[in-house]
Symmetry: C2
């Protein structure tokens, strides 16, 4: 597996900096006492990260020739939503993590109440951004974006997956249950990223189905590598605590399949993801590259 | 001040039972392990309450002849959002309340992690409901509903108000700052309820402005009475702990104005709210009655 290609690397840096700039512009500022809330929101979203979901929105939208400013707003919305999920996931009652991307988590840097509220506010602003006419001139598209993001991140998607993840700490899950858990917890939002790019570009049902299939395989590959990094990486490499799944006695792809089979499975999924993109006849080069990157990453 | 009129009482009972039935139908069910999440969502929203916000949506929509099924969906959305805010507000890191409407709060009945996730899921489903074509056939209306709810409940609205409320525990606020806090924390969502009714009915800007003015006065009157109930009520009467503001040394309308002036102020606001409805020439009778009820309530 080759390491990250120079053109993908440049595209990822460009996507990350553009979406950070967009979020910086959109997020609220205040001179009033509640400024602490806004500071916590900014701390959460502007603190780095791979910006995988914005990258997927932007590079899918590009296939269909979507205006970049519109795509950037949708990308900012899904990144705000992703960041809220991290803030709440890190809370003492949840994963109780003190470190994220090598920095103190929001409840450590601020306090727990502020972290709850900042997460709530990031979730809320995601929908406010999508409903705004500046995101797309067609209100049907904007409603579809809101509905798609809400479904992917709600009780039958990401949040349901997080609930299952908590249950997995005390209940033995088999490989089928873990696959379902991870599809909900991580996969749905990754699939939503490509779907939003397609919706912005009024993609055909056939193209939307291909994007969904691509993203589901990509999401699963991504998660398997996450589990491998937790099992084999160090906090210095990954920027977050490692070895937590094993300590918690939690069943993951790695504990069930073993590291070698898990890595092999991730590579197969990555190749399969790329095959789904064949309908775009070479116009989805960055999406192909990112599927290779995801299984090759070290953090 | 007369006690609640029979016709208002019947209208409130009807609104409450219809919206509960709607939420019961809309909220997700599951046979899978994540069912606990869905149980917690249902426990939170189906556990009673005045259903003031749904009542305002339904009775405002009625002025404009909106289809009741559409109005009920919008009412269910804002009630889900209101309930999420209660679940998160009750968390140990926030108000640390063990009792709500005379019942254990969600984190006591379930656990803290489930309460965080159930709140997140209720917030998310509110937007999913509004973006659905069954809520209104015109996608412009649906986008306006999403945007209005997001603004009212976000960092510059309800959540910002909750942040200020936390700050008020350690910082002395004057009457201006408290009015702003309460307008954000409670008033914005109450105003949003009437605005959503107006948006569903494609109300004129003049009518929307009248509804907003009505709701802002109503919201402030509502909050003053809330403070009075906390200062003077008992847990048996109100169904929640009382005397908490004084114990926390928190400035409220009552601690600053004194009980008598606070009660007088609430009555003035209620009368003023009713005056704003004169543009509807008697077609907003239930909204008038609820403004009288709000300052007369005992819980």
């Amino acid at each position: 597996m080759p390491s990250i290609s120079p053109s993908l690397s440049a595209a990822m840096v460009h996507a990350a900096s553009s979406v950070v700039e967009t979020m910086e512009r959109i997020l609220p500022k205040s001179e009033f006492a509640e400024q602490k809330l806004f500071d916590a929101m900014r701390y959460s979203v502007l603190g780095g990260g791979k910006r995988l979901r914005p990258f997927l929105v932007l590079n899918t939208a590009q296939i269909f020739g979507v205006d970049e400013d519109c795509a950037l707003r949708a990308a900012a919305a899904i990144e705000c939503l992703h960041c809220y999920s991290l803030v709440h996931d890190d809370l003492p009652a949840m994963d109780n993590s003190e470190l994220r991307r090598g920095q103190p988590t929001v409840h450590i840097k601020f306090d727990e109440a502020t972290a709850v509220l900042a997460g709530d506010a990031l979730l809320t602003i995601a929908f406010e951004i999508l409903a705004d006419p500046r995101t797309h001139e067609d209100p049907n598209v904007r409603c579809a974006l809101v509905a798609t993001l809400a479904r992917a991140s709600g009780a039958n998607g990401m949040i349901g997956g997080q609930m299952l993840d908590l249950i997995a700490e005390t209940t033995a899950l088999d490989i089928g249950a873990i696959t379902r858990l991870q599809r909900m917890k991580t996969g749905e939002l990754i699939a939503c990223s490509t779907e939003m790019g397609g919706l912005l570009g009024k993609a055909s049902p056939q193209h939307l189905a291909a994007l969904r299939a691509y993203a589901h395989d990509l999401g699963l590959a991504f998660q398997i590598i996450d589990d491998l990094l937790d099992a084999e990486g160090t906090p210095e490499e990954t920027g977050k605590p490692t070895g937590r799944d094993e300590k918690a006695g939690k069943a993951t792809f790695v504990t069930i399949l073993g590291a070698d089979r898990a890595r092999h499975q991730a590579k197969l999924l990555s190749e399969q993801a790329i095959q789904h993109l064949s309908v775009f006849e070479g116009r989805a080069k960055n999406l192909e590259d990112v599927a290779r990157f995801v299984v090759d990453r070290k953090a």
